[in-house]
Every structure is written in C-alpha cells, then in structure tokens.
C-alpha cells in the first residue's frame, strides 16, 4: 500500500483524490483476488465489478465513524448484491472498521467475515444481505426512518442485475416513489452478466433507465463508467444537487473487471480461482496497479 489512508480521506484536490481512489480500488481488487484464490471460495465477478463504487462511497461520499460503527447519524450502505461481500470487507477493513489481517479469515469457520454480509458479526455492515431482492426495501426503511427521526444521513443501496430480477425490488421501487424519502440513492452496478449468463439471455432489464423513470424515480441523465473514479465522483456531485427523491444512478461495469479472460464471463460469478487462473490473472492486476501507482 503506497498511500496513507488518513491523507486520502483528507485530500481536497479532486483529481488527486480520484487518482488515489482509483489506486485503492485496484489494490483492494488484487487483495480480493488473493483472498478468494487462497480460500477457494467466494464471488470474484461481482466483487471486482463493485470495487470503484464501494471505494468511492466509503472514502469519499459517506460520513461514517469506524470507531463507532453504529453511530446513529452515519450514512448507510446496503450492499444488496451481498455476494460482493469480500470487496465490502476489504473496503471496510482499510477504512478502519476491522483489522486488515482479518480479511484472510473470509468464509473460515468461526470468522466474523461470513460468506454474505452479516450485520450482527461484522462491524460496519449496516444490513445483512445475501438473498437477493432485499436491499432497496431495507434502504427505503432506513431513509424513511431518517424522516421520522428528523435526521439527515444518506442511505445508499448498491444493486446488481440479480436484485433487479427479484419482484420485491420492484415493489420497493414503487414504494420509494410513493414515499419519496429524502437522501435515498440507488446505485446500479450494471455489469449485465448474471450467475447463469448474460442478462440479455437470462432476464433482460433494458431499457432500464426508462423503466426506472416510468416508476417515477429521478434517474441520472448520464450513465457513468463505474470503473472510473473520476466519473463516479461526477455522479456524486450530480446526486448532491438533486432535490427530487428517490435518486437512481446507473453505472456501466464489468463482471470480473481487471482480469481479461474473466471479464464479462458468467463462469467467474462464483467459481473458485484455481491455481492456473490465479497465476495467469494476477500479473494483469499487478500491471494495472503499477500504472495507477505511477499516476499518484
């Protein structure tokens, strides 16, 4: 790790910050790749897809206190695509919620790092997820609670295609448009590949922005590159300027991002990273990390 985390958090220069977060995301991606290979279990595809989004949330947008994980006024994140757990844990660890060393215990017996996020066991996890389709509803509840309790925290929910297949997500989308809770933001990690294959084959979602607009959401007019921190920060700027709730932002991403032969390939949704694939894939991740380091 070439960066000092407190300095990253304190960085005010936008382009320097973007470069630092871009580096962090790749560093975490490499860490997740190592852990998943070492453990022989976990979901590489969706975890890698969400790296830049989760880093940007926890190191830029979100107001949290790692020393007080249940701080009542904190911003919330619901990782509705709970199978990206290993990336969430990695981000939480480097953000100060748990020891980085503990990441190696992912999915081990007696570990606090369950296969899918468990709010009772892991500091910093705002909601247990794993079964798909829960996150948007939960986020609606959190955002409505802010209204009832007269608090001003933000509620973010990160969803993937699987979530958007679930009927409950659309119940939640309807109800959010009814109650219009302030500061509710749905981020869509739109990598267009599900467990079994391309979304277009499994369950087509397009035209997704039109669907969300038809459900009366305030949808960002731009579809952002979810692997470019600069664009993600632009999207956050747009979000901050909104007054019509709820807000949805779609990010184009790639499942298994960073390893060429794993990208956009449904096989790498949850398959263990075998020794040969690990040996072939790791140099690619290292090379990108070196490029990003050079830009710091």
């Amino acid at each position: 790790m070439k960066l000092d985390i407190p300095s990253v958090l304190a960085e005010k220069n936008r382009s320097r910050k973007a470069a630092q977060l871009q580096y962090l995301a790749q560093y975490f991606r490499l860490s997740v790749f190592d852990v998943l290979h070492e453990r022989g279990t976990g979901h590489w595809g969706g975890a890698s897809s969400a790296a830049e989004l989760l880093v940007s949330l926890y190191f830029d947008a979100m107001n949290v206190k790692p020393e007080e994980p249940r701080w009542a006024d904190r911003d919330r994140l619901v990782l509705s695509k709970g199978h990206a757990s290993c990336m969430l844990y990695t981000v939480l660890a480097w953000r100060g919620f748990l020891p980085v060393e503990e990441l190696k215990s992912f999915r081990r017996l007696n570990s606090r790092l369950q296969g899918h996020p468990c709010m009772v066991k892991t500091p910093g996890v705002d909601m247990s997820t794993g079964a798909l389709g829960h996150g948007v509803s939960v986020a609606v509840g959190m955002a409505l609670a802010a209204r009832v309790l007269k608090k001003s925290y933000w509620t973010y929910v990160l969803v993937g295609e699987g979530d958007l297949n679930e009927g409950q997500t659309w119940e939640a989308i309807m109800s959010a448009a009814k109650f219009r809770p302030e500061r509710l933001v749905m981020l869509i990690d739109y990598n267009k590949v599900q467990l079994d294959g391309p979304s277009q084959e499994i369950m087509p979602l397009d035209p997704l922005p039109d669907k969300l607009r038809a459900f009366n959401w305030n949808v960002a007019p731009t579809i952002y590159n979810g692997h470019c921190v600069g664009e993600i920060l632009d999207s956050f700027t747009w979000i901050r300027c909104q007054s019509q709730w709820p807000v949805a932002v779609i990010y184009t991403t790639h499942k298994g991002r960073g390893v060429s032969f794993m990208e956009d390939n449904a096989y790498w949704h949850g398959s263990p990273i075998d020794a040969e694939s690990y040996a072939r894939g790791r140099p690619e991740l290292e090379a990108t990390l070196a490029e990003l380091e050079a830009k710091l």
């Binding site: 468990c118 247990s128 079964a131 959190m142 955002a143 119940e171 109800s175 009814k178």
Partner: protein, 313 residues
C-alpha cells in the same frame, strides 16, 4: 351468564393508539388491509408514523427492517398467511438473522377469515415462524392478552410474532395477572390429563375441562401463550404428573403447538399424546364457529379426545 365477546383485531387497533404516546418511536406498517386489521385508526391519528405499502408484504417487512436498524420500533401488520409465506424470506434473512426489533401483528390467524376460504386461512404460520432462530412467537387467547403481548413485545429486544384473530371471541382474562412472554398460564389444576392450548380455542378447552371435571376427569389445563421460547419447565412438570397430554390449536397439527409440545416433552417428560388441530388438509369457507367445529376444534371434540386419551391408559 353471558360472556363478553371482543375481537383481537379491534384490540390491536386500540392498543396501538393507547401505546403510541408511551412509545414515540413505534411506527406501523400495513399492506393494504389496515381497515381489516384495524391499524387504520393509528394511521389516522399518527399519519407521519404510518406506512401503507400496498399489497407488497415482503417489501413491507424489509422496510420495517431498515427502520428498526435506525432506532424505530416497527409493527408490521397484515394477514398471517401472507405475512409468513409471502414475506418469509425477509422475516428470516433480514429480521431474524439481524435480531431486529420488529413486531409482527399477524392478523386473521387460523380459520378466522372463515368466509374467505382456504386461500386466506393461516394454518402453517406458526410452523414457519417457530423454525426461525431469534423469533419469539406469541399466540394470545383473548383481547386482554393482545394488548399485554404488544406492550411486552415493545419492551423486548428482538423480533416478536403475535398471532391475532379476526372475529369476536370470549374475553377470558379481564382482571387476571398479565400475560408474561415465555410463561405458561395454568387455568385448571388436575392430575388425569394435561391439555395444552393456545389462541382462540382456549375458551373451548376451559369449557371441556369443566365438563370433564364433572365426569370425574381432572385436567391440568395450560394456556401456552408463548410457543417460543416455550415454558418447558411448566410443561414437563405437568406431563410428569399426568403422563397424558392433549394439545389444542387453530393450526395444522404439524409444526405449531403440537410440534412445540411434543419436541419439548420428547426430551424432558415423554407422555402419551394426542393433537387437536387441522389434519393436513385445506379447510373451506363457512361460519367461523361452524368451520372450527367441522375441522375438529370444539369443546365437545376436546372432551371426547381427552376421554379417549385417558381410557387408553
């Protein structure tokens, strides 16, 4: 002497209003049945604390979960069958897994939505929620217990399922010591047979016990208002004394009170047992009391089965 009758759903509506000032963090959610479940009155009095989510039970339960993590005390209300089966995943994976303090007001339990028929009758809800870790399961027997159960649940930490009924039924516990979650209420002391009952059929079991006493059979009558955690000690003490146990419930005989009692006594005090409830079948439309009677839930049936159990040895 006429017995006062009152409906648990009305008791829920009244209790929410009564407890609202004392529990300012309590919010109520309903799934487009608030005029039936009687939560509508709370919604009228406290519109900023009431959320009608439409016919979307799973969404309702997860919204309640999100609220609970932020310091609110949600009461999620709808018909028991849709609550437990349509929202079974959120109840388990979000609320129970997270030990979240959400209260489920499960209306129209058992056969009480009698005319609407089998599609609306809830005979598997207790089996479903009993199997979920961290869940407390309460089955009040009258309106008095409904209010007491709600208040007790609001003072607890984790999720609580309170099963309610639609129709007026006898008021049994006016002036009695309050319902205590996790404790059996002993209604008659006897030595020939234990009858364990929960919910609406409690009044039938009282009637049956008194008739049995008149014919020389003394019944240890236990009202098991909490199915989980069950009062194992009181159950075992009674079964060890009588060696015969009959369970009575307005639910399938699979997985509800019968299951809870049999599981407990199988370990602590094995006894000869019989079970009154719905026998693995779908009931039908009809008048509530006639329907219960047709499916074997009546004082007369309890009396007969009790006699048979005593006769068997």
């Amino acid at each position: 002497m006429t017995v006062t009758q009152a409906a648990m759903r009305d008791a829920l509506g009244d209790a929410l209003l009564e407890l609202a000032p004392r529990f300012p963090d309590m919010v109520v959610l309903d799934a487009d049945v608030s005029s039936s479940t009687r939560t509508a009155a709370f919604g009228k009095a406290y519109p900023e604390r009431f959320f009608n989510v439409g016919v979307a039970e799973a969404n309702m339960v997860d919204i309640a979960a999100g609220m609970a993590t932020c310091g609110l005390r949600p009461v999620a209300s709808t018909f028991a069958i849709f609550l437990t089966l349509k929202a079974g995943d959120p109840i388990r994976n979000t609320i129970c897994y997270g030990k979240l303090p959400v209260i489920f007001a499960a209306g129209y339990g058992g056969l009480s939505d009698s005319y609407d028929g089998a599609s609306h009758q809830s005979i598997a809800d207790l089996a479903v929620v009993r199997a979920m870790p961290n869940m407390t399961v309460v089955v009040p027997a009258d309106v008095i217990e409904v209010r007491q159960a709600l208040e007790a649940a609001l003072l607890m930490e984790g999720p609580v399922y309170i099963r309610l009924s639609r129709n007026p039924t006898p008021v049994l516990f006016e002036g009695s010591p309050p319902l205590e979650i996790g404790k059996i209420r002993k209604l008659r002391d006897g030595s020939d047979l234990t009858i364990a009952v929960c919910g609406v059929p409690t009044f039938m079991a009282i009637e049956a016990a008194d008739r049995l006493a008149a014919s020389g059979i003394s019944v240890d009558l236990l009202e098991v208002s909490t199915l989980k955690p069950i009062d194992a000690e009181a159950l075992a003490r009674s079964a060890a004394k009588t060696r015969r146990v009959l369970t009575v419930e307005e639910h399938s005989i699979h997985g509800g009170l019968a299951g809870a009692v049999a599981e407990t006594l199988g370990r602590l005090a094995p006894a000869r047992m019989d079970f009154i409830g719905i026998e693995d079948t779908f009931p039908e439309s009809g008048d509530y009391m006639e329907l219960l009677k047709k499916y074997g839930i009546s004082a007369e049936h309890i009396e007969n089965r009790a006699k048979a159990l005593v006769k068997e040895g």
